[in-house]
């Protein structure tokens, strides 16, 4: 059993909340007291069923205004997988929330209203998913019950979407006709209503999407978070470098380089909780002991010597701006990349990306909340970076305001200048 993290984007009208509610309800993740709370709120659908969209309602502040202000996380599991849903609101002003939810997701569910077809919002959600490097997209053509479960309607939408999707980087796109309200193709199939559809239901698809190869096992990156030095009689000279293998693999005997200093040594052992492991690979938290005494502190990165990597201080990135105060060229900010923090300056704004079309808008002098733009950045300290497209876990960074310390931007490395 492994974990699939996915994001659902859309607004209330798409039936997104109903879809999540249906997934939770039909996989029996809803408890009686939660259902009771919904029933007592008195909201039922026209056919007398409980309004499943209420299962994902959150804070008082949101209910009062009838909106979703943030990403909410939901959990369910089947015998095959544990699922973590990042539920993000879909309005244009919530781009920052969708970017946040997408950053940790392997799969994106995009809802299309069968009556309306591919809309601006469909394109926007797909483009954001693609920019954030989500490898798997699932296009749920919802409300099939309202178009008489018509295969022609479905086929037309699939064609339209494929046409548009040519400009996306998505590696894997799956189409599923569903009715979240009626439960068609969510958990169960649709033999009665849509016998023409032969593919899996949404849940079947979520259970079988292969996610293990989404981890990068090629480029070994181990950012040091913390140095373990017990200084006890038993472990007098012990120095363990605690961190997470964000990509690649490590085992005893591997020749490694410590960046940015460039010193080389060999891995002596890979451990966790005092126990020796044969190998550590992407996404594992471990401790590395090294053969030689080298000067290493938090923020340094242990990489395979054979990779011949260099550090850089200048690069271009796509940045989603997340703050009310606009970003202007020359802005000085803190940049946090894995366990490193350094100051940086945004030297130039190359262009803004129209998130409905992917078009570039040139001559931009400032970037507003929810804008995504391409910028040039220079950092005070050298960083060991990868292009986001090559290594998602080493290509993302956040921008932090120097005085309020708010997280004001999310960046993805696009070009590195050595």
């Amino acid at each position: 059993m492994d974990i699939l993290r996915f994001i659902t984007a859309g607004n209330v009208d798409d039936g997104k909340s109903t879809l999540i509610g249906r997934l939770l309800y039909d996989t029996k993740q809803i408890f009686a007291d939660q259902l009771e709370a919904i029933e007592s709120s008195g909201r039922v659908n026209e056919d007398g069923q409980v309004d499943l969209s209420l299962l994902t309602d959150g804070l008082k502040a949101e209910r009062e205004q009838g909106i979703t202000i943030d990403v909410a996380y939901k959990y369910f599991s089947t015998e095959k997988r544990k699922f973590i849903i990042a539920d993000a609101p879909g309005h244009i002003q919530y781009t920052r929330n969708m970017v946040t939810g997408a950053s940790n997701s392997n799969l994106s569910i995009i809802l299309v209203d069968a009556r309306k077809g591919v809309q601006e919002q469909t394109r926007r959600h797909s483009i954001i998913s693609s920019l954030l490097g989500i490898p798997h997209l699932v296009i749920c053509i919802n409300k099939m019950d309202l178009v008489g479960y018509d295969e022609q309607v479905y086929n037309q939408i699939v064609e339209d979407y494929k046409q548009f999707a040519q400009k996306l980087n998505a590696k894997d796109i799956t189409f599923i006709p569903v009715s979240a309200l009626k439960g068609d193709n969510i958990v169960e199939g649709s033999e009665l209503t849509m016998p023409w559809y032969q593919g899996p239901s949404l849940l079947e698809h979520l259970e079988q999407v292969p996610v293990s190869q989404d981890f990068n096992l090629e480029n070994s990156r181990f950012p040091v978070q913390y140095v373990i030095r017990p200084l006890t009689a038993e472990h007098h000279d012990y120095r363990g470098y605690a961190g997470k293998v964000i990509s690649g693999t490590y085992k005893a005997g591997d020749k490694v380089t410590v960046q940015p200093s460039g010193q080389t040594t060999t891995v002596k052992s890979v451990e966790l909780g005092g126990k020796v492991l044969e190998e550590a690979f992407a996404s594992m938290s471990v401790v590395l002991q090294l053969q030689d005494e080298v000067d290493i502190s938090r923020g340094d990165v242990i990489v395979k010597a054979a990779d011949g990597l260099e550090v850089a201080q200048e690069f271009e990135a796509e940045v989603c701006w997340m703050h009310n105060k606009a970003l202007k060229p020359g802005a000085k900010l803190l940049l946090r990349h894995n366990s490193t923090e350094t100051r940086c300056v945004v030297r130039h704004i190359n262009y803004k990306i129209d998130i409905n079309t992917l078009d570039h808008l040139e001559d931009v002098d400032q970037v507003q909340l929810n804008d995504i733009c391409r910028v040039q950045i220079k950092t005070a300290a050298p960083l060991l970076l990868d292009k986001y497209a090559d290594n998602r876990s080493n290509g993302g960074f956040i921008l932090v305001d120097e005085t309020s310390f708010a997280t004001v931007g999310a960046g993805m490395v696009a070009e590195i200048e050595y």
């Binding site: 909410a72 096992l217 913390y226 017990p230 996404s283 997340m322 956040i398 310390f405």
Partner: protein
Amino acid sequence: MTKRYLDYLDQLEAEAIHIMREVAGQFEKPALLFSGGKDSITLVRLAEKAFRPGKFPFPLVHIDTGHNFPEAIRYRDELAERLGEKLIVRNVEETIKRKNLSEPKGRYASRNALQTHTLLETIEEFGFDACIGGARRDEEKARAKERIFSVRDEFGQWDPKRQRPELWNIYNGRISKGENVRVFPISNWTELDVWNYIKREEIALPNIYYTHERECLVRDGKLMAWSDFIYQEPDDVVVRKQVRFRTVGDMTCTAAVESIAHDIDGVIAEILESKISERGATRIDDKLSETAMEDRKKGGYF
């Protein structure tokens, strides 16, 4: 070739360890809030994995309401002793006396809310800049929107609109003086995940998590452990039942569930069968209003 596959519990563990080490790396004076409940016991095991053979880079801190289960207190002391880690205990009782606070009275009297006072005082006393807690997002809808690094102002208040977006595995722990961060390493775990982890790691728990016979009051359809602290009404009936606790908090607001589970497999089987959520079954404090948790978090609760 080695099989490179991480089980879901390994993935959750790796994420939690990464978060704890970020706390150790980013903060000057962190603390781990320890209640004696299964979630904080899980945190302690994760801290062992994160920092052994070194010592924890933080003390264990317990805010004792004075109404805790004696079994949980005993467990707490033995655990700290066995691990050789520092334990700090601060009592709500003393805060009440010193600040001349009034004890809640009546049918739903609980020191749960007063705990926040003592917690904030303790944070101030030691200058803690980060407090690790065992809250999970599956527990409650306000917690579903909580960050892993949750920034609080100097009054400990949670402002859902001011929370920082959290991207990838990058946690922004930068704060101004007086602010602190609550950190939730097991945010993405469910109740069942915690139990499965306890089983896999063979972690011993206070025995009140397993079935035992106990005198209980029946209150609003829930079984409350009879104790000197609980508010009693003349018509209250005391019954003897086979029960266990699904959560372990203050005795005045934690209800027992009828159970015959005498070991962890029994508990897991009962949870799988259960039709009621964890907090719904056991917490009186959440039932007081629909937004009880949201309101308490805004007031500095974790």
